[in-house]
């Protein structure tokens, strides 16, 4: 019997590890100052000095992609943290205890999920104003329902299992059952939704900044903002849009593969099967 390797997880982890290490490097060192403008080096195509070329202000795109991906990841990380923490709490409580509170909260949840999240985010940002901090809070809040739903379902399933009943009979407190006994059992599902959450957060940040309501032009480089700026130079300097676009693609691909891999059930294939094929 042989177990097929979890290619998705391996590939996803490799991609993510590679991008995250570049991003972390970007926090400490970038080839050039990401905001430094240079009139002499405007719209330089990729070359040895500027691996990804420069933009219309002569800023090094590699440096900006490093910083921008960092900003994007930072926003995604914080937004997902807010969403996952609150979502787990809400979902856990409602799923474990059930009852009328569960019904009410879940219907509110449904109501929120009924709107496309980017639309809701646009409305929220239009009210609160753009900027990094607002974006993090808005996205974080918008992610709560999806986490709450997933966690609630799992808790509702687990609470009727024997080990929970046993624990209850032994007098373990509800809180302890929820977070020490049940939570570890739903970790794979939760981690998988966190990976998807990252995915959505990266996309949401990029699209919001692209629409001009996310990270401001002077706040920091951001991948979505870079795409927006690159739009005007799509044909005369395509490397601008391509660099930012690829960075987003790779980030998302990594997380998507991880989340795919998390839900992976290994298939066991008898070795004999292969042999038979070879014989035929």
């Amino acid at each position: 019997m042989r177990r097929t390797p979890n290619y998705n997880l391996i590939l996803g982890c490799t991609l993510t590890a590679a991008t995250v290490s570049v991003i972390i490097l970007g926090f400490f060192w970038t080839p050039y100052e990401p905001d430094a403008m240079s009139i002499a080096e405007r719209s330089v195509s990729p070359c040895a000095a500027h691996l990804l070329g420069t933009d219309n202000f002569g800023r090094d795109i590699l440096s900006r992609v490093m910083q921008g991906a960092g900003t994007t990841l930072e926003i995604a990380f914080l937004a997902v943290s807010i969403g996952a923490t609150c979502g787990t709490l809400i979902g856990g409580l409602t799923g474990y205890f059930g009852g009328i509170a569960d019904e009410i909260i879940m219907r509110v949840n449904d109501a929120v999920t009924a709107f496309p999240s980017v639309l809701l985010a646009l409305v929220a940002v239009a009210i609160t104003g753009g900027g990094k901090t607002n974006l993090i809070i808005v996205l974080g809040i918008l992610f709560i329902p999806s986490f709450a739903r997933v966690v609630r379902g799992e808790f509702a399933k687990q609470r009727n299992m024997d080990y929970v009943k046993n624990a209850k009979l032994m007098g373990v407190t509800n809180l302890r059952i929820m977070f020490v006994h049940i939570l570890p059992n739903i970790a794979p599902v939760l981690l998988s939704s966190i990976a998807i959450g990252f995915n959505n957060a990266v996309l949401a940040e990029a699209s919001m900044s692209f629409l001009g309501v996310g990270v401001g032009p002077t706040e920091s480089a951001s991948l979505g903002r870079m795409l927006l700026d690159a739009e005007a130079y799509l044909f005369s300097a395509p490397w601008q849009a391509l660099s930012a676009g690829f960075a987003i693609t790779i980030l998302i691909l990594g997380f998507a593969l991880i989340s795919d891999g998390m839900g992976y059930r290994p298939t066991w294939r008898p070795v004999a099967k292969r042999r038979r094929k070879a014989d035929a």
Binding site: T4, P217, T218, E219, A232, Y233, L253, A256
Partner: protein, 525 residues
């Protein structure tokens, strides 16, 4: 070993995308090299005249903003609105492309010796778009309305000194002023409308085009007016398409959805390629970082002067338009040759060290941070803001760019005066120096920068009541000097105005004010 299909599919998709995009980028790179120098043609109209003009056709023009403020010729707020309405309304006189005032609805004008009375003889047979003939009564109504006779406030600033408008006979209208003012003629370019009509309800003027329809945020259609008294327009109709994204405008031009677009940036022009004629002029406005002089820290003249030293205007022009454009040092643009004071351009040299020193003197040794509101539909202003932010960073001042849509900018920033700094271009509503300078008097309704200087107010009062042209010009120059010395705003430039026309379109002419005259544009065969 089997590779999971989904993974394989994902990887293949990415690879294909890479291949497709890099192939396309390769081709385009080659192209960009050949057109590094877009070589726009010189600003004169002859440059555009290729082929013989033919009559007729529907001209599609791209504009960045809708006419949200008004269709009222006496109440225009934004320059983008005036640029369109110029084709619909005409005053007693109208500006020509050399900056002279030529008779329009009036056939001739006689200015009294003292400069306080204008006698207009109306042109025979001028028709309104509704078919009626312009009478002296209509003129009296229009001018009285603009001057606010019988109301508390004039609709057009500066016309409040008109004390009476009378029709002495069917063809003669006398405008009397309370005080002599030889510049009043320029204000009498205000549109003539039928007596008793409300332009907010019906759009009827005497211009070469009549209004047909408007779809908000989408398009405005105007049609050639067949009974126009003057040289008729070449084209049958003009459709203004409202496209607030710079990239979409370029795409629309390239795809053939638009025939003519003004106010393009050089980056946009570089994208266009060879199928277009590009004319190079200036926009006739003063682009500046307009500072709210009433709020901290810009209420301190030292801070304003410090920032003025921290801005490198040439660099901004280099970034924005490969050096095109004209630097300005006060609220006057170079096309106003008579009033423009070239020396003021160099009032504040680019000197970051001095700027830091001045900031320290003003009590900001570590700099400060402020919000700069920029309308998000004007790419040149956004690009300028990014360069300015970078330049100010060098002296320790951090400027946060706050992008807002045009409507918000109008209501919050311009009318509400609720902002710290903003980057826009301010133009002259009328072809007078006064139109540029009056807004900085303390109690002017459009003094959105809250500039307040007793000396300025006095000088302005002296200037407008002056009947001697040379003396008045000197006073106007002095006003500009005060603005520059006080560093009321961080003056940058008169933006270069690149107009792109599809091959087969010609006749576009630049005016010394911010208008687009569609009656002169034509298709060629």
């Amino acid at each position: 070993m089997k590779f999971p299909k989904r993974t394989l599919a994902l990887i293949l998709a990415v690879l294909m995308l890479t291949a497709a995009l890099s192939a396309c980028s390769g081709g385009k790179q080659g192209e960009t090299q050949t057109e590094t120098d877009p070589t726009p043609q010189s600003g004169n109209a002859e440059g555009a005249n290729i082929g013989e003009p033919v009559m007729g056709g529907d001209l599609r023009v791209g504009i960045a903003q809708d006419l949200d403020d008004t269709f009222d010729p006496h109440n225009i707020i934004s320059a983008g609105t005036r640029e369109v309405l110029f084709n619909i309304y005409e005053g007693l006189v109208k500006p020509d492309n050399d900056g002279n005032l030529v008779p329009a609805v009036a056939e001739s004008v006689d200015i009294s010796e003292a400069g306080d009375s204008f006698t207009f003889t109306l042109r025979e047979g001028v028709k309104f778009h509704n078919g009626e003939t312009v009478t002296a009564e209509d003129v009296v109504y229009s001018v009285s309305r603009a001057a606010g006779l019988g109301a508390d406030k004039p609709m057009i600033d500066g016309m409040q000194i008109i004390t009476s408008v009378e029709a002495t006979d069917e063809k003669t209208v006398v405008v009397t002023l309370g005080e002599p003012n030889i510049e009043m003629l320029a204000l009498l370019t205000a549109g003539i409308i039928p007596a008793g009509s409300d332009p907010a309800v019906e759009t009827v003027g005497t211009g070469p085009f009549k209004f047909v329809s408007r779809i908000p945020q989408e398009s405005i259609v105007i049609e050639k007016f067949d009974e126009y008294w003057g040289t008729p327009a070449y084209v049958d109709s003009v459709t203004y398409k409202i496209i607030d994204s710079g990239e979409t405008i370029v795409m629309s031009l390239k795809s053939g959805a638009l025939d003519l677009v003004a106010h393009l940036t050089s980056a946009q022009v570089n994208e266009l390629g060879d199928d277009f004629t590009v004319l190079d002029g200036t926009m006739n406005l003063v682009q500046a970082v307009y500072l709210n002089n009433a709020v901290e820290p810009f209420n301190d003249v030292k801070v304003r002067q410090a920032l003025a030293h921290a801005i490198d205007r040439q660099l901004i022009m280099d970034f924005l338009a490969e050096g095109r454009g004209a630097a300005v040092g006060s609220s006057m643009y170079p096309a106003f040759e008579k009033y423009f004071v070239p020396e003021l351009v160099d009032e504040y040299s680019y000197d970051p060290e001095l700027a830091k020193q001045l900031l320290a003197d003003a009590g900001y040794p570590d700099g400060f941070s402020f919000d700069c509101t920029v309308p998000s539909n004007y790419q040149p202003h956004i690009d300028t803001a990014e360069v300015v932010a970078q330049e100010l960073q060098a002296v320790g001042v951090s400027m946060n760019i706050k992008l807002v849509d045009w409507e918000t900018w109008l209501s919050e920033t311009y009318l509400g005066r609720n902002y710290q700094a903003t980057i826009v271009g301010v133009d002259a509503a009328m072809m007078t120096a006064r139109a540029m300078l009056e807004r900085f008097t303390s109690d002017a309704g459009n003094n959105f920068v809250n500039f307040s200087s007793a000396e300025y107010d006095e000088t302005f009062a002296a200037a407008i009541s002056c009947t001697d042209d040379a003396e008045q010009t000197e006073l106007y120059k002095k006003l500009q000097t005060i603005l520059a010395e006080e560093a009321a705003n961080l003056y940058i430039q008169d933006l270069c105005d690149l107009v792109a026309m599809r091959k087969g379109v010609g006749g576009y002419e630049f005016y010394p004010i911010y208008v687009m005259d569609m009656s002169k544009v034509y298709f060629t065969n």
